[in-house]
């Protein structure tokens, strides 16, 4: 099953590579990845989709927790959160029939045509995996010339936020070491 993890990280150099390299050295495959700044410019949010059992996901969360710049990690349950991805798709459309058909597909999916020329159309669509996947399956018949996608982003429904899930820092036990160092000086 595909699972979604949302990760808050300090927005500093090298953080993204720390996160992605953790995935590759643990042999976990990333299905989708999206990164961007949050309302606080010093913090970024990474959304990762991975395949895995409960055990695997707990392990991923715990390992991410060990990276110092990671502020919090939480799993977003498919049914309790909103998932969206934005895609640009360039499809072959060399005759009127195909153009008409594509336009009607686009309308059904509430996508939009953002560029047009004699032989092709560019479509922009925002949706979750099911919606985007369904449209891609239909467009395939016309011939997809190229496409780009942002990667899935997601937020939990309701007023709960990722800030409630600030990770347990016990593995660093940092407070203890600060206290003992102060004791030493006293």
């Amino acid at each position: 099953m595909k699972r979604t993890l949302s990760i808050l990280v300090e927005n500093s150099a090298g953080v993204l590579s720390q996160v992605t390299r953790l995935f590759s050295r643990k042999n976990w495959n990333i299905d989708s990845l999206a990164v961007g700044e949050t309302q606080d410019p010093s913090v970024s949010r990474i959304t990762v989709m991975v395949e895995g059992s409960d055990q695997r996901i707990r392990q991923v969360q715990a390992q991410l927790g060990k990276l110092l710049p990671v502020i919090s990690v939480c799993e977003l349950d498919e049914s309790l959160s909103i998932h969206r991805e934005f895609m640009l798709v360039k499809v072959r459309a060399e005759d009127k029939d195909s153009r008409d058909e594509i336009i009607s597909i686009v309308n059904v999916f509430r996508a939009s045509i953002v560029d047009i020329c004699r032989t092709s159309l560019m479509i922009a669509i925002t949706g979750d995996e099911a919606k985007n996947g369904a449209m891609l399956a239909l467009l395939k018949d016309f011939g997809i010339l190229e496409m780009a996608r942002t990667g899935m982003i997601a937020l939990e429904r309701g007023s709960a936020t990722i800030y409630d899930a600030t990770k347990d820092r016990s593995e660093f036990d940092y407070a203890k070491s600060v206290v003992s160092a102060e004791d030493k000086d006293a």
Partner: protein, 538 residues
């Protein structure tokens, strides 16, 4: 007051109570070396022959003293020479702060002379890597690095300082020792809760078990939890086995101690793991050398795992119960929660297990033990000699053994022995090595002699890469290939070349005499071992 980045770095070392560093200079770190020169009365610098030796020495120092080791190297090749040492410290959770300098920011990314992306290289083998771009960041970074290296599950941290940052000046405020940015303070300084419910559940499982077994790992030693371990084991009459990293967590002379578990472990410990109905694993990470195939590991047992690192829980084996926390405090609260128990029948049945009759190498290891007692620090390299030492030395106290358990880095021994002796000059340091491992880093003999750090090096000289040869016999139809070490140097000539005494011995009695004689002054003992001797599970 304003100081150069280099001066701030060295001031921070002094702030942290560092009085010894291991390292090797180069042009990129020159400015830091100049500050070390100015502060030579506060900080002793041990110049090794190779950065790898310095890295292992800082690691050995950390393991022997339970303080944080410090190792300094220059950019490029200096930094890459540290890599094996960083990885060895990482795999065995040893707190070491590595400091390297890089090219100036203006040159970064241009493949400048001796430029290397060391933070990129070291990322997977450190708790954290810092690339410091300006002098103003140095103090906070150093303070945080020291706190990180030694806290929670300890481990190495690397600080790579750009060339411009050591030269520039910045404001420096002396501090009691730690700095956390405001953002990090909230999450790093949050108090760690003890899981009282978890403790109660584990206490209940212990009370219900008929054949309980404790497995103590390196975490028990790191945490200084030996007394708490003993209290719990004695109160619940529970036998204890250890992993390689846990040797010495309980005295091998104690009647509850079953020895080392795992693929090359003692028979009693292995049988106990197979038969126990509750395995309480403390400060272990269930490495493949301990579990063998996980499907058949402790097949009858309820598995309980206590570890300070949450990511170790359910990583390699699925557990039934776990507690995330410091070994010492969890074991003490457990001991407080359990009633006195007795498991005489279980203990008696384990006591009946027959250990395989050991061969000549065991006699050698025991001869060393007789010669130095239980007060010495024993450092090993990697191979058969390491496993013979683990099995037959009879460790009695935490810190008695220093070995590259997780990474298995040949060449670890001599550097680590030098580090251990530097940190704890009151103890005899014995370095048990193989002819293969010794040759990897024997260049550190000059460091040993130069700084008057006597190490008794006992070379189990079997003229081969014994451990690999043994595998070739077992799994490669005895195609002995590239494992014969039929070449120099003559170890006696080598000893005298470095100004050390050498002894050649052919039996345990001679070895005993030689170790006794060289214990105070150091030297090399060439101990002849048959090439067909093997290490087998008990």
């Amino acid at each position: 007051m304003k100081k150069s980045g280099a001066a701030i770095a060295v001031a921070c070392l002094i702030e942290q109570g560092v009085d010894t560093v291991f390292g090797y200079p180069g042009v990129s770190v020159l400015k830091i070396y100049d500050e070390l020169y100015k502060n030579r009365r506060s900080i002793r610098h041990i110049l090794t022959s190779h950065e790898q030796g310095a890295a292992h020495a800082a690691d050995g120092y950390a393991r022997a003293t339970r303080r944080t080791g410090v190792c300094i190297a220059t950019s490029g090749p200096g930094a890459t020479n540290l890599v094996t040492g960083i990885a060895a410290a990482f795999m065995d959770s040893s707190p070491v702060v590595f400091i390297t300098c890089n090219v100036p920011e203006s040159q970064l990314g241009r493949d400048a002379f001796q430029e290397v992306d060391i933070t990129g290289i070291a990322m997977p083998i450190t708790k954290c890597c810092y690339l410091v771009r300006s002098a103003g960041e140095i103090a906070d970074t150093m303070r945080e690095a020291f706190a990180l290296a030694s806290s929670g599950r300890p481990g190495p941290v690397l600080i790579d300082i750009m060339g411009n940052a050591v030269v520039e000046t910045a404001e420096y405020e002396p501090s009691a020792g730690h700095a956390v940015t405001a953002r990090r303070a909230a999450r790093l300084l949050a108090p760690v809760r003890t899981d009282e419910e978890g403790v109660a559940a584990v206490a209940k499982a212990l009370a219900e078990a008929e054949r309980p077994l404790i497995m103590a790992g390196g975490g028990v030693i790191r945490s200084g939890a030996s007394e708490a371990l003993l209290a719990l084991a004695e109160k619940t009459d529970t036998p204890v086995c250890t992993t390689m990293m846990g040797l010495g967590a309980i005295s091998s002379a104690h009647e509850l101690c079953l020895g080392m578990a795992g693929v090359y472990g003692d028979a009693r410990a292995r049988r106990a793991v197979d038969e126990c109905d509750l395995l309480l694993a403390v400060g272990v990470r269930f490495s493949d050398r301990v579990t063998g195939p996980v499907e058949t590991f402790a097949p009858k047992a309820k598995l309980v795992h206590i570890d300070i690192d949450r990511s170790e829980i359910d990583k390699n084996v699925l557990t039934d119960l776990h507690i995330v926390g410091d070994a010492g405090s969890v074991l003490s609260s457990l001991a407080g929660k359990v009633k006195k128990l007795s498991h005489a029948a279980w203990r008696d049945s384990l006591a009946q297990t027959k250990e395989r009759v050991p061969g000549a190498p065991a006699e050698y290891v025991r001869a060393v033990r007789r010669a130095v007692g239980s007060d010495a620090v024993v450092v090993t390299d990697v191979g058969q000699h390491q496993l013979w030492t683990c099995r037959y030395f009879g460790f009695e106290r935490p810190g008695e053994l220093i070995t590259s358990g997780g990474f298995g880095a040949m060449g670890f021994g001599l550097g680590a022995a030098i580090g251990a002796r530097t940190g704890d000059p009151s103890r005899t340091v014995v370095h048990i090595t193989g002819d293969g491992s010794f040759r990897m880093n024997l260049t550190e003999l000059s460091t040993e002699v130069k700084y008057g750090l006597p190490v008794v090096t006992v070379v189990f000289n079997n003229g081969s890469l014994g451990m690999v040869r043994q595998n070739q016999r077992q799994f490669m139809h005895s195609h002995f290939w590239q494992t014969k070490l039929d070449r120099g140097p003559d170890l006696m000539l080598l000893a005298s070349a470095y100004g050390l005494e050498g002894r050649r011995v052919t039996d345990a009695e001679e070895l005993y005499e030689a170790v006794k004689e060289l214990a105070g002054k150091g030297g090399i003992i060439d101990c002849r071992v048959g090439e067909d001797e093997e290490i087998t599970a008990g």
